[in-house]
Subunit: 141 residues, 4 copies
């Protein structure tokens, strides 16, 4: 099952709403499909101009490796040269920290990933999770 | 004046609505700020996975050169080697055809660009224009 | 529906068998999923070492653009600078000639692409089609 | 002596069979020739989409340096900047961990390399070795 544009909009709106309710800094949120391709993205007013690439890098690495941001960060801390090499083969497109969140359907299959950036990595991940859960899907941070 | 996220949403929604009303193929729409950085993007269900890069390339070239898609295409037809060289200096990120539309405010200043892809280049440009006009801004195709 | 590894093997074996029966030069065959990612690849003995990249480029462009090799070639002939620019945004990974074949399921949805290289582009496409049809899927050359 | 496509198929099938017997996660297996060029690749159903690049990076580094994954990992741990620099000259295509396995013929000459990814690096290397030995060649992990 693919994430529809409608569900992607819900994920983004609810992630941004979570950021406003918990008084986070301006957020940027991306939704990728199961092949790592962009479905939708929004950057809040006041966010730095380069935030697309950070949001994308968090979500893209999650899809390519089948491993969410928290697991990627652990691997980067254990074996920095491995994650550096992984970035080489993926064209430097991987940001291995929380805020990259895998999206699974009811059967547990990966159907996409969400990337959030703007506040701390943990707050970014919480915003992503809020959006994903509001859409009826399951997030793995 | 920058294009707000709110106005960007209006541009995208109205461009997509134009596509549905005129029975175009599934569209993808991007809004860039005046520095060429992504504010928002949406890809309709059924569009090919690589459409982000095409929409981005149309809008990015418009911003970088201060020249909309129609003018870029004319230049590419007159002097193919020039647009090839332009792509060299901009890292291959420019798609010089209609559907890349400059966005101007009431004083005529460029405040961003919209890129649309999915149907013919001319139909893409018309959808972009519909979105921009619905937001109260002015488009240059 | 995704193309399974089992179906991918059938596609490759039957494409290569078609090549042997019709006395084509040594072929290389790739199967990509609907996100443009490699499922399987084989290069026959005697094929040139660089054939992976050609097979990949034919199939990858088909997926990214949602347009098979024949349509890409027409576009390249009509508007060479457009396909050159497309290659820029896709990192130079697109080979716009026949032999890149879209794979559709019974409902007409694109589920992947096959790329064949080694003989003439038209013979390459015929081999891809033979493999796809043997797997019960539908090819668009 | 080159690795034939037939032997490459045996290597891949037996490596995957080893993975199933020992209950590893879904694996991806690549076989490169002595010039570092792809002969064959298969990705099991359920493996993450980006696995081709990881399998390739493990095998490619082994061929380019004439040094298998275990030796590369030791070098990366001793001298991270060296492996980073190696990746610079090889275009970021080297993944220096076990699972990249050199393939030697009876006279001890390097005839290719196998790359396996999907489980732990050590399990990946064991699967590669099982495949290589089943083909009558010798693996160096």
């Amino acid at each position: 099952m693919a994430i529809s544009l409608n569900k992607s909009r819900t994920i983004i709106r609810k992630a941004l709403a979570h950021g406003r309710e918990t008084e986070l800094k301006p957020l940027s949120v991306i939704v990728l499909d199961s092949g790592g391709h962009v479905i939708a993205f929004e950057r809040e007013d006041g966010a730095a101009p380069g935030r697309f690439a950070i949001a994308h890098g968090k979500a893209f690495g999650s899809i390519m490796l089948g491993m969410a941001g928290t697991a990627q960060m652990k691997r980067a801390e254990d074996q920095a040269y491995f994650m550096a090499a992984v970035n080489g083969v993926y064209g430097g497109q991987v940001i291995p920290v929380p805020g990259g969140v895998l999206v699974r359907d009811k059967r547990g299959r990966i159907v996409g990933a969400v990337g959030v950036t703007g506040d701390t990595s943990d707050n970014d991940a919480a915003a992503a999770l809020a959006g994903i859960e509001a859409s009826g899907l399951t997030g793995e941070i």
